[in-house]
């Protein structure tokens, strides 16, 4: 039997399910054990433990009106809802809510690509549109547009952006690439943001701001509304892509090395996301993988300029890894190992069979992802701090090996912790995760995103002036969602009636 929402009787719950069924069709209310299982987080840090959050049901609306009705019914019964677009947020919580008994509002059926403009390079999509879906749409219509993708292609364009996920090209900041939203508020009312607030708007996907306060950010990593439409700017298909690797030999090279990478990014010469690895051995202490997208002549000149800049570092080495010319033939695509950088979604990240620690198969992982400044000094500090932290928390390895250049001026220092199905090991890793978060906070670093079960802990770190930011969020939460029905506790934001739960956790 799936758990009931807290404070809701079995009779109320069954009445609510019936009303949800009238709104969306009874076959789209899923509440059997077998169905509920599909909404568990396959990478749960609490797998099969009492604390693993298990939803009570899932409801699948197909239209905005149905979303409104579901939200109103949830208000009537005070049943919490947890919206997902495709619910494949593996490493950050999957489709599972924070609290057991919550109903998953599964928006996968709303999978319409509403508009794609080649001329102005944008798309307007519903929540359930995956990167695969949008890619197929663009390909079938022969549009000269390119997607900016996370590694797994099965996630949603919208959900990924609402969790402020990371792409791999020049439009890497997926939330930053959005333009205009339609949101169902916790009251059930529909609102459009930016230019979309003008009835009959002609420039909803052309300009993000409209007039007055810019509120879109309030609906990402939050529990203030259910987003039902979202516009995205797309990259016009470039003529070519050049992949290169630059290595610098010594640990001390880090400052000029990262300064140069940062300059190239901030100046728009190499704006795509990049990786910096630190194998800390003779192959070069630092190594950056850079991507140049654009007309061949332009990227040749950019690469030449980049080499000039890096050449100030003695012993720096350059390697050209690949040059792709668009459009690519299907045969050419077949042989390319990392298709994501070409805007082609895939699932290759899962293809190698989850092999881990010499065991036949692992159980997945979850991500600790603090943001540090894009400077050499910050990277060295992060390496030292996390190397110490790894020792202290008895984690294997020496800390972060890779840094992702995401956004101008900042890096993500990505560390993944293995999911364990042995309770003792799982508990140890959870403590290590919380320890890493605490240690990062002590050094002025917060995470850019967090697995759902650690969201409240992540927000604890953002505590300046006695949690002024969280108190602000909660003032907004109480005003918009007085019954606290949307994702209570998500990102550490609790509605008034459940705030005591946080104090109890503390």
């Amino acid at each position: 039997m799936p758990p009931l929402p807290p404070g809701v009787t079995a009779q109320q719950f069954s009445n609510a399910l019936r009303e949800f069924g009238s709104a969306v069709g009874p076959e789209w209310v899923l509440s059997t054990d077998e169905d509920i299982r599909t909404y568990r987080d396959a990478f749960s840090p609490f797998w099969e433990e009492a604390e693993e959050p298990i939803p009570s049901a899932a409801v699948g609306p197909n239209t905005v009106e149905q979303v409104q009705q579901v939200v109103r019914i949830a208000n009537k019964y005070r049943i919490p809802l947890w919206a997902v677009s495709t619910g494949r947020n593996l490493g950050y919580g999957g489709a599972a809510p924070l609290n057991s008994g919550t109903i998953v509002l599964d928006l996968k059926r709303m999978n319409r690509v509403l508009e794609v403009s080649e001329e102005n390079a944008y798309a307007l999509v519903e929540p359930g549109v995956s990167f695969f879906d949008l890619y197929r749409d663009i390909q079938e219509r022969g549009l000269k547009l390119m997607l900016d993708l996370p590694q797994p292609g099965w996630g949603s364009v919208m959900g990924h952006a609402l969790d402020r996920g990371v792409g791999q090209g020049p439009y890497e900041d997926r939330f930053g690439a959005h333009c205009g939203m339609e949101v169902v508020l916790p009251s059930g009312e529909v609102m459009r943001t930016g230019m979309g607030a003008v009835p009959g708007a002609k420039s909803w996907q052309h300009n993000p701001y409209g007039f007055g306060p810019f509120v879109d950010g309030m609906f990402a990593q939050s529990n203030f509304g259910v987003v039902t439409k979202m516009g995205f700017h797309l990259l016009p298909e470039p003529e070519a892509l050049r992949l290169v690797t630059v290595t610098a030999p010594r640990r001390d090279d880090v400052v000029p090395f990262v300064n140069t990478v940062g300059y190239l990014k901030n100046a728009g010469i190499c704006p795509a996301s990049f990786g910096i690895r630190s194998p800390r051995n003779d192959t070069g202490y630092w190594s950056a993988s850079l991507k140049f997208y654009g007309p061949l002549k332009v990227i040749d000149a950019q690469w030449e300029h980049a080499q000039e800049k890096f050449s100030a570092i003695a012993g720096v080495r350059f390697q050209e890894d690949a040059l792709y010319r668009f459009p690519l033939s299907p045969d050419a695509i077949d042989g390319i190992p990392n298709k994501n950088v070409l805007g082609i979604p895939d699932l290759a990240a899962f293809g190698q069979g989850f092999v881990r620690d010499g065991r036949p198969h692992g159980y997945g992982h979850y991500f600790f992802a603090p943001i540090i400044p894009m400077t050499g000094e910050a990277m060295l500090e992060a390496q030292d701090v996390f190397e110490q932290a790894f020792k202290q928390l008895e984690l294997p390895g020496r800390g972060p090996v890779g840094f992702t250049g995401w956004q101008r001026r900042s890096l993500i220092s990505l560390i993944s912790l293995p999911v364990e199905h042995d309770t003792g090991k799982a508990q140890k890793n959870r403590e290590a995760f919380r320890g890493l978060m605490r240690i990062a906070g002590e050094h002025g670093w917060g995470v850019y995103r967090a697995p759902v079960v650690f969201m409240p802990d992540a927000m604890e770190v953002y505590s300046y002036n006695n949690h002024a930011l969280r108190r602000f969020h909660e003032t907004v939460k109480d005003a918009l969602d007085p019954n606290g029905i949307l994702a209570p506790g998500k990102c550490g934001i609790w509605p008034r009636r459940l705030r005591e739960a946080r104090e109890a956790r503390a």
Binding site: G25, E34, G60, D106, K108, L347, V355, H361
Partner: protein, 222 residues
Amino acid sequence: MASRREFLQLALAASAVPLAARGVLAAPAGWADESTAPTPLYAVVFDERYPASRAFAGEAKRLGLSTRGIGGDVTRLWFDDLDRRWRQEPAAIAGLTTYGALFCLDVLARDYGMRTRFRADHYLDRAAGRVEHVMAGPAALLRDADTLMRGQAAWGRGLARVVTRHPASPAPATRLTLVARAEHTGEDPAHLVSWVISPWGPPAWAAGGGPESSLVGERAKF
């Protein structure tokens, strides 16, 4: 008359090939009513890199089934083939692949109202020349698994005979472990999985649920 449990144990004990067999044999309700009509399989998926998987495909082909090779990543298979097929109508597939490939197909298939109904983990101990098959699936299928795999030098081939008999209608599930000799291990990895994903029960999400929903490519009004 022997109970179901005894019947199964007898059947396993009679097998020549397995070195050992451990059945976790719940007494499934409605045994006598179980339909044994096999699931029509739209495709049999194998990993071209591994001999056991190739043997599995060879036998499936011999049994008249259509096979699809992958090199670990399921993207092309799903994007160019399964997704198109499943948008018309869910259709069962079976395979012998890495766990990663099954993980992806299992998640993707859920959106078309399908679930993994049979799964066997194959743990290869090359040094000992043994393979352990840890199976979970319809009891009627597992009852015959040992017999079907008996006498097969390539265990992948035996597995093909098992999955192709997967019953079409929902059936009570059980578990079974077989340990067998594995002589020609070649390049097989330490762990592979065989599986059947078949339509059953819940509605299909990806195809949309009614007249208002559209398949990809169609433009909806907003």
